[in-house]
Subunit: 577 residues, 2 copies
């Protein structure tokens, strides 16, 4: 283990001391600041309009020296789509984290170290106590002194602590500029060892060995199968969730499908031929685009576990994400195969191409009435936020069922059929159902409860986080709210006193269409912290346009699988005196 | 005031003592009992199957003497439709209240009194303390001794205390038989004074003077306009609510419309002629029937008032009822007028023929998309439970919007039009909206909230009643559950301990159709009373097929108009030691 030399000896013990610019560097920085200021201010203004970001940033740049270039190519992240407005704005803001510095005393070239470190060593530097290291290419940086200066907020930079910056820069592409690299160069402490420069590979005997590389910001609840959620502070940064941090709920290893040979089997009605559709065939159907929030039935399960143990992954409030999906409408494909609405209840069954060692594929179904309703906008999606589906999200084709629990959005779709009964899949019949708190594993009768389709109204707080300390004066609270079945969110109430009194939050994000409110609203509330308060019990609850509300507490909705956890979301914070 | 002579001196202080049959009356009754037994038992068995009524009744009749006939004609109640299965069964059961007696010592002719009483005097005998008097035709009866023997339960008979029996016999027609009249004859204490034999009339200067006669079982929340709900013990006796006790929510005096001259004005789209439809014209459209539960937005408002004052009528849990409605589908009528679905949001506005002194009519609207969707089954209804609409329920035509708040089911319908905006009616724009608990009459912005359309999931306990005393051993809990938007009720949880532990209730009533669960489920739970318990805090909560649940408590959903009161319903009862 090589200890990192302190980069800024004069700043030890005085990390937040601000010094006026002085000497030749200060003057040189002054003119560069003006240039950057002109480039950055309009962007910031747009951000303030769109996301109500406080515009109190003290903007000052350090240098425009372009000489420092990366020596290793960046990792490519297929989903890094910076074209969406929401991303671009936040990307810009986060980019400022490296472009801008508040204090001229930080504007000096870093002494480059040629010391060699392993990835393991870098990983051990992931807290303020051990100092914060990151890598870019094969270079290693100690950014401890920069954490508090990161305009996107310290917490965002901390997500990369102990690991590579590339996945974050891929998300927020504005980082990838010469002046950002120059800032970073000041903090260089060494390089990666030669064997650590190549990305690590998994063992091939592992059925999950072929799973794709994931974004390090994801909080992993299960590695095999891979289940992970974005951290709350990233979740509501963007109305559209960037693909690499979209929550991932896999039940089995990720199949590696070739787009050229992929075929979707659509079983025809009796007496009709089945269809075998290539990707090109699917592209021939009218392309339909829709913004849809997906939520796992187990989102916020960890709160149920706190009350009483359940079977299931420990999701926090991040098993929910929103994307712009594009593909063929299921109703068009079914009609092409000869299907039509029936008098009697029927179901469209989906089979994935992911399967367990016995060959059993993931499966689920939805009612035919929903599938055939053009207004329900059920998709066979091949695009996610303008990109081909990432492998973790069903490449090349998945089902997207707006307003319905994630479990029915079958990924790596292999087969579609219309049946008189629901799918006989384990996940349709023996999972993803709600029960009374009185039902346990000895008494549960899975046939007695309907499979979850539409989800109930939901909301959660993403900022501040539970256990955090907030400034006295004013607190900003952010979160998301969504309801199933296309029901719009009409109000979010926020309480600072555990639910005794309430304030109405401001709803942001795209307007919701009547009856087709498939995507969430983001919300925020800026509220004065009552004088003398040492702690706040922050609570949120949403109301949808059927005026359904969230239940007050977890215990009465507890169920043995820990699904449908939509009680008021509660966050406890301390207030700085 | 004439005090009633005690009819059965030997039963004073020993009202529940059971004596074996003896003497000639006992023998005579024996053979009559067999006859009645054969007639009644199959009916009772059906009732037990359908409504899980305990079949522990000890059946014994008194006489089949037909000699006693009423001397005044019964009041006619137009909605008394005994043809529905549910009613017929319960009617039979209630009829038994007079047909059958448990104890032969009661079987003797009553001494007829010729004393004369006023209706006011009768009215003063409405409790066990003042004795229980009722009238039939012009005869007055003291049925105090029979109250506990009424097989339909004492509480049902008590509904008629101090008033006429006819409205109840009209509901439960099986009472109107010779042997029932004979039982009653034993309890005769006198007759009505001649001026009281004619029904009272209202003053004609009163705008409400022409309002119809109402059923006395209704609990009146407001006389002008008339607003009333059935008592809980009648509400869930029948899956279909009998017309005379269907909750009534009037905003204005009831118009008295002539069916011959009635016209419905349907405004056509630009460039098309409007329609002026007579009742006969409406009958030409395909007749569509659907069972729909209507609920007032203010149902259970009294629970909100207990927390904090609100503006609105003090509804208990009875502002909800279910009927079989028949009429023309709105989509057919709109199509006939030349309307079709539009790309942009539009609304179907309804105007009633009830109006205030300024001529302003009641009005409301629903989205055009719902109106035009045949699956939404919106009706222009002219029949309620097989009868023409009663005047209080919109004679001759009202709107029925399945799954939607009662306020949009415009009664006495005069005009239908399609508009780009919602109805400008007060009741659409300045009422029937939900707000945060923080909003008061100084801060309310009615434009900030959507008008209530679909209602949230709801349930309530109808038996036992709050404050009642129940037997130790086993308790039977009954109630209703319903959700808006066609969402089916999938479960009702009941707690005896205020919500700490839960049991799943049995759902009764008609099966609900997927996506078209327009009508409620009745439910019941028979549960052992935990040994040693002196009181029970009974709670119910329902879950719909979107897995929406009711909130735990009232305060966090309190709103200044006291609408949308759907917190857990709570009933406190004592247990006999």
């Amino acid at each position: 283990m090589v200890l990192a030399p302190p980069l800024c000896p004069q700043s030890s013990g005085a990390r937040r001391v601000k010094q006026p610019p002085s000497g030749p560097r200060g003057r040189r920085t002054g003119s560069a600041t003006m240039l950057l200021h002109r480039a950055v201010i309009p962007c910031l203004r747009q951000a303030c309009r769109l996301q109500s970001v406080p515009s109190r940033l003290c903007i000052r740049a350090c240098s425009t020296n372009d000489s420092l270039q990366p020596q290793c190519p960046s990792l490519a992240f297929s989903g890094a789509n910076s074209s969406t407005r929401g991303w671009r704005v936040m990307g810009t803001l986060l980019g400022l984290g490296a472009v801008l510095a508040y204090h001229d005393h930080r504007c000096r070239a870093a002494e480059k170290s040629s010391r060699i470190y392993t990835r393991e060593e870098v990983k051990s530097h992931s807290s303020l106590e051990t100092r914060i290291w990151v890598t870019l290419g094969c270079e290693v940086f100690d950014v401890t002194e920069f954490v508090d200066l990161h305009p996107g907020g310290p917490s965002k930079l901390m997500l990369a602590a102990g690991g590579p910056l590339e996945p974050f820069w891929a998300l927020y592409a504005v980082h990838d500029q010469a002046h950002v690299r120059e800032i970073l160069a000041q903090y260089k402490v060494g390089e990666l060892s030669s064997e650590d420069k190549a990305p690590s590979t998994l063992k091939t005997s592992d059925p999950y060995a072929d799973d794709p590389v994931r974004h390090p910001a994801l909080k992993v609840n299960s590695q095999r199968p891979f289940n992970a959620e974005p951290p709350p502070e990233l979740l509501t940064e963007n109305y559209i969730t960037p693909n690499p941090i979209f929550f991932t709920r896999n039940h089995l290893p990720v199949p590696n499908l070739e787009p050229e040979t992929y075929r979707l089997h659509v079983v025809g009605p009796p007496g009709c031929q089945s269809l075998s559709l290539s990707l090109d065939d699917l592209y021939q159907f009218p392309k339909h685009e829709v913004t849809v929030t997906l939520q796992c039935a187990g989102n916020r399960r960890s709160e149920m576990t706190q009350f009483k143990e359940v079977k299931g992954l420990e999701w926090n409030a991040g098993a929910i994400s929103t994307a712009r999906w594009a593909g063929a409408r299921l109703c068009d494909v079914l009609a092409k195969a000869g299907h039509q609405l029936r008098e009697t209840e029927a179901h469209v069954c989906f089979e994935g191409l992911d399967s367990d060692p016995t060959g059993t594929a993931y499966g689920a179904s939805i009612p035919l009435a929903r599938a055939m309703d053009p207004e329900a906008e059920v998709l066979l999606a091949y695009e996610m936020n303008g990109q081909p589906l990432p492998r973790d999200h069903g490449f090349p084709v998945r089902v997207v069922v707006p307003g319905v629990v994630g479990a029915r959005h079958v990924k790596w779709l292999g087969k579609v059929s219309v049946e008189p009964e629901e799918s006989y899949s384990h996940w349709q019949r023996r999972d993803y159902k709600g029960f009374s708190p009185s039902v346990d594993w000895d008494t549960v009768d899975f046939d007695s409860a309907p499979s979850i389709q539409e989800l109930p109204v939901q909301s959660a707080i993403t900022e501040p986080k539970d256990g955090e300390t907030v400034q006295s004066g004013e607190v900003t609270i952010k979160g998301y709210a969504w309801s199933g079945g296309g029901r719009a969110v009409v109000r979010v109430d926020v309480s600072l006193d555990g639910g005794l009194t309430w304030q109405v939050a401001e709803l942001n994000g795209e307007e919701q269409r009547p009856r087709k409110a498939w995507a969430w609203r983001l919300w925020q509330l800026q509220a004065p912290v009552p004088a003398g308060k040492k702690e706040l019990n922050i609570v949120c609850k949403a109301v949808d346009d059927s005026y359904n509300v969230q239940p007050d507490s977890v215990a009465p909705i507890w169920n043995l699988r820990g699904v449908l956890s939509n009680a008021w979301h509660r966050v406890h914070v301390r207030v700085t005196p």
